[in-house]
């Protein structure tokens, strides 16, 4: 049972990341590989505040988001200078730079050694140190983010995002300042990734920069594409697949140290096959 709860917590954390990227990629058509950085920023803010101060978990989540908002605004403005194809390369470069900062700002992040001893929260007199309680917290945050995203894609704002994905120039000619729309959705999704990072840090009680590298961005991208572009339920399916697939490999007797490499290989293969035969992913509505 404890094992299943652990998987459900992982599912919640990565589903938030997947949903955030799906708003950007599936609905707006922007491929970003910077999301692991925002995930990391949220994680580091929570880790530092919970380890060194008596800040409450929810306040640390909020402060993580507050930190990420101006940074993502700045990075979003930089990224907007490039066309859609270069956008991905720029986002990759930004992730590499921020990963370097996580590693090298040792005074703050403790570099490659990471930060340990991050406590689990106690909120409204509920102690979340047990996994079952923590699952509740993770599910509540996932539900809030899912509902918020569901709202976004049903508003006129969400409709404009889709026109940016389809033909940004025509969208501009209709009087939409697409630059602002792209920036706003970038900041919203970066903030969601930061919330996921806070959950991650507190759950594992240890973080180091390796969790926030380009590989993580690629995994978030895989979740989004496999589950389905422009489909929020699809992202949940993609995350479920992403969480359960390596576990299945363990059950068939593959040593755990080889599971990670094999997982990467299989995800790569699945994405290639999907692009060839079902480019919109399992439940997607949009083809890349």
């Amino acid at each position: 049972m404890e094992y299943l709860i652990h998987l459900a917590i992982l599912l919640s954390i990565y589903a938030i990341l997947g949903i955030s990227l799906n708003l950007l990629l599936g609905y707006t058509g922007l491929i970003s590989l910077t999301h692991a950085s925002f995930f990391g920023m949220g994680a580091y803010v929570t880790a530092l505040l919970l380890v060194h101060t008596k800040t409450s978990f929810l306040l640390s989540v909020l402060l993580g988001v507050i930190l990420v908002m101006p940074i993502s605004t700045f990075l979003g403005m930089i990224s907007d200078q490039f066309n859609k194809n270069d956008y991905m390369l720029v986002s990759l470069g930004l992730n590499v730079i921020i990963f370097g900062l996580f590693n090298n700002l040792s005074n703050l992040t403790n570099g490659a050694l990471g930060i340990s001893g991050i406590p689990r929260p106690v909120l409204f007199n509920i102690d979340f140190s047990s996994n079952s309680n923590y699952l509740l917290l993770a599910l509540v945050l996932l539900l809030l983010i899912y509902l918020f995203s569901h709202y976004i894609v049903r508003t006129s704002f969400g409709r404009v995002l889709k026109t940016i994905r389809e033909d940004e120039n025509v969208s501009k000619s209709f009087g939409f300042n697409t630059r602002y729309y792209k920036l706003v959705i970038f900041v919203i999704t970066a903030s969601m990734a930061a919330v996921s990072g806070s959950l991650y840090a507190s759950y594992f009680s240890y973080i180091d920069p390796s969790s926030f590298s380009v590989t993580t961005s690629m995994l978030i991208l895989s979740i989004t594409i496999i589950g389905g572009l422009a489909s929020l339920p699809g992202t949940l399916i993609g995350t479920l697949f992403f969480i359960l697939f390596p576990e299945l490999l363990r059950f068939v007797g593959i040593p755990s140290e080889e599971v990670f490499q094999l997982r990467q290989l299989m995800f790569g293969l699945i994405i290639v096959l999907l692009m060839m035969h079902r480019p919109q992913g399992f439940m997607g509505k949009y083809k890349l």
């Binding site: 709202y151 976004i152 049903r154 508003t155 006129s156 704002f157 409709r159 404009v160 889709k162 026109t163 994905r165 389809e166 033909d167 120039n169 025509v170 969208s171 501009k172 000619s173 209709f174 009087g175 939409f176 300042n177 602002y180 729309y181 706003v184 422009a230 509505k285 949009y286 083809k287």
Partner: protein, 249 residues
Amino acid sequence: MTMIKIHNLRKRFGRADVVNNFSAEIFKNTIVGFVGPNGSGKSTVINLLTGVETIDHGDIYISDILVKNKKKLINNYSFNISRTYQDPRIFDQMSVLENVLIVLNKRKVLSSFFETKKPFNSSKVEEVLRKVDLWGKRSALAGDLSYGQRKILEFARVLAMDTRICIFDEPFAGLFAEMKLIVSELILDLKASGKTVVLIEHDMDQIVKLADYVLVMNAGKLIAKGKPSKILSRNDILDIYIGKDLHEK
């Protein structure tokens, strides 16, 4: 009253002067036929007018306001212009309904964030889609429509935008006779409701039937303007339009 005034417009692609000192006036509440052989520069003039291309030299005034068109892609909507393209540019992976609904959206980011369902927009979309006979296809993806239906959908967007100036780039190309009839009636309706319509078209029967006057372009220049029946029966225009040899035959 002049709605659009174009003065000494010039556009060069590489070494070719695609538009060369083009000047013209388009009057309010008229249908203007914009004709000329392929490659004469008609679409480029429209692209300059709607900001798809940047102007090298010259001025465009819309309702006496100088359009600062040095940057690419002006916001046509703010100049009260809507247009269609030679190859329809609809949002393929959105529904037919959404393709029309989008032009009724609030434009500002914040207000669009709080706009979900609006009865006015829904009824307007229904009215427009029924008019062009696409209401039955409202839930279909726009990309799944036939070529003719895609053109009609683009037309529906123009109707929904309700701008003062409507520009149609070859609206009859690739349409069946029945659809052509619908489109020509819609164009006449637009004029009747006070709009200014610019029509780029090769179908001379439609131009004669619909246009109040025509502008004829060749090799980037305006070579004639006037009543369609007079201009389009001139031998020099026919020589240019269909080729001298063919005309003499």
